[in-house]
């Protein structure tokens, strides 16, 4: 058969398309579980690291079930929506929804008989999205720990938000000011407290050269934590 004839061309193209479709679908399907598993375990890792438990991906599932005792999906009124799985909420898509249909995931952890509330965060850095988890102590004021992630911040500058030296500065900071009003935590250059000894100032030191990323972190904390106030107010009023 002449290889440049129409018949041959169509036949070749058809066989090629079918073979490739089959091979690709097969590969994708067989690896589907592994891929989803990686993503799930990574999320568990991130939630745990907010309360200071840093583990490898392999260990994360076991420790997650051990330490995380509750997963709640909250409405913007502070009610619990039992129909939505908190863990499966994709925050990137969820925050684009209308405020009344949005659900806010909350994780409750029990570590060494202490209760912690872990709140997922998402915001905008300099280049693209930034996210994180913040763990609050039972007083819903003092920060137990935070972990941050980013999509495309600059290495050595904005990307430093993932580093221990930055996340450690949040430990024991308060999210309420002296009057008991919610203010969050500000990443600021005018901190005047480089050793971070003042834990009541609602401030942490900014990263040199990463002002916009730092602002993004401050805004993210204020905006996201604010959504959980109705629920927390209900808790403290009980």
């Amino acid at each position: 058969m002449n290889r440049d004839s129409n018949k041959h061309t169509y036949l070749f193209a058809a066989i090629m398309v079918i073979t490739i479709a089959f091979v690709l679908s097969f590969t994708s399907e067989s690896l589907k579980e592994l891929k989803a598993d990686n993503i799930k375990k990574e999320k568990m890792q991130n939630v745990l690291s907010a309360v200071g438990i840093n583990v490898s991906r392999d260990e994360s599932e076991e420790l997650y079930t051990q330490y995380i005792i509750e997963e709640l999906s909250l409405t913007n009124n502070g009610d619990i929506d039992n129909a939505v799985s908190a863990f499966n909420i994709n925050l990137a898509l969820e925050i684009k929804k209308d405020i009344n249909t949005q659900r806010f995931p909350l994780y409750v952890a029990n570590v060494d008989n202490n209760k912690y509330y872990i709140i997922p965060l998402r915001g905008n850095g300099l280049w693209n999205a930034i996210w994180g988890y913040m763990a609050l102590k039972e007083d819903i004021n003092t920060i137990k720990g935070v972990s941050f992630g980013h999509k495309a911040e600059t290495a050595g500058l904005g990307a430093e938000i993932t580093q221990d030296w930055f996340t450690n500065s949040f430990v024991d900071e308060k999210i309420l000011n002296d009057n008991g009003d919610f203010v969050g935590v500000y990443v600021t250059k005018t901190n005047n407290d480089p050793e971070n000894t003042d834990k009541n100032d609602n401030e942490v030191d900014a990263i040199s050269g990463a002002t916009i990323t730092g602002d993004g972190v401050s805004d993210m904390i204020k905006e996201r934590l604010g959504k959980y106030l109705p629920y927390f107010n209900n808790l403290t009023n009980e």
Binding site: R3, D4, S5, H8, T9, F12, A13, M16, I20, V23, L24, T27, S28, L31, L34, K35, N38, I39, E42, R57, T154, A155, G156
Partner: protein, 215 residues
Amino acid sequence: MSKDKEKLFSKQNRALLTDPLDDNNPITVQVLGICSALAITVKLEPAVVMTLSVIFVMGSSNMIISILRNIIPNRIRIIVQLVVIASLVAIVDQFLKAYAYDVSKQLSIFIGLIITNCIVMGRLEAFAIGNGVWKSFLDGVGNALGYGWILIVVAFIRELFGSGELFGIPVIPQFIYDLGYTDNGLMLLSPMALIVVGVYIWIQRYFNRKLIEKD
């Protein structure tokens, strides 16, 4: 008269593997494949994973096209090549997401860019479409190695001087830091990759005079 079957690793065949390392290096001589080479060379690990991926893609695509070279209709030749490359890359991508999740996040879109990596398509057109399977395979692997070599050299320099580590493991002894040495933050920024390659070309052409451009 019978022709002696060429040995698997005859001089000619070995040259297919070694030429691209220096004389015919895809990046510094053929000037192909620069794109993906630069942004991922901040650390050694992604550079190595990228090299292995490219070796797989180029070896396989060269082989496949060589096997099919007599039945591919001329009219759709380029499209067939593109589709073969794209499928192989898609397979690599799926495997990375399953078995090397962390690195796949670092490499992100650059795995996809292997498709448009001029080297891959370039070798198909220049070699595989007209040569036997084994030779094509060697050519593909050889060029991928040449490409990978540059990637690894650049990543080595950038990670070593930029963060004092190799493969994430600190290698510069503490006393050197105490003497006042600090990591060169500039190396972490992507433009440095271009400059390092530029210097590499300078050095390469200094030693290999025949590569100097005659104007």
